[in-house]
Subunit: 114 residues, 2 copies
């Protein structure tokens, strides 16, 4: 129940990061990459992924390229210039947040030890 909720707010950043790194990916590709890299801990569902991709598209952070592979369609996504910028912003924000939470949990901030 906890693990399920933790992904919230991090998904778009994960997708953007993968795209920045790989250049272009299609949806199914992303689900496998997330699964592999998280060692099976993060299982991205279609109901989460595709709406997320559509949001990124609507926000102008990614652009698409449709390709027919045999009789099957693939929709490749790649970052726009705006998307590249936003990726940096979100990655910094996310890493900073992870630090903050770790600090809260592990009590690395000495100011409260009184």
């Amino acid at each position: 129940m906890l693990a399920k909720d933790l992904i919230k707010g991090t998904l778009s950043t994960i997708i953007l990061t993968l795209l920045k790194e790989q250049g272009r990916m299609y949806g199914y590709d992303i689900t496998r990459a997330v699964k592999e890299r998280s060692e099976g801990k993060v299982l991205l569902k279609e109901g989460s992924l595709y709406p997320a991709l559509h949001r990124l598209l609507a926000d102008g952070l990614v652009e698409t390229e449709e390709v027919m592979v045999g009789k099957r369609m693939r929709i490749y996504y790649r970052l726009t210039a705006k998307g590249v910028e936003q990726t940096s912003v979100q990655v910094n924000e996310l890493l900073s947040f992870l630090d903050t939470i770790q600090g809260l949990i592990l009590n690395q901030n000495p100011s409260w030890n009184g």
Copy 2:
């Protein structure tokens, strides 16, 4: 917008951790502790905190002690035995998740560098 969503799923763990450490705390106390420890980055609102505390109470993870201070009521919260157990579980889960996400973002998992 990102930072606002990131807190989701982490709040109960933060509260439980604080209680485990401090022994007992009341609501307003918790908001200040979170603010201080996160250096102002996490501003816990009443509309988030009190429902969260009530959930923990309903789940039997905390118990309360009402104290009058002057004419004002304070409700102290402390962990139950079940709460102590659950705190460990959630902290481990959260730290593991933070590592996973960091790995995804920073690509520390070498298995995908092909």
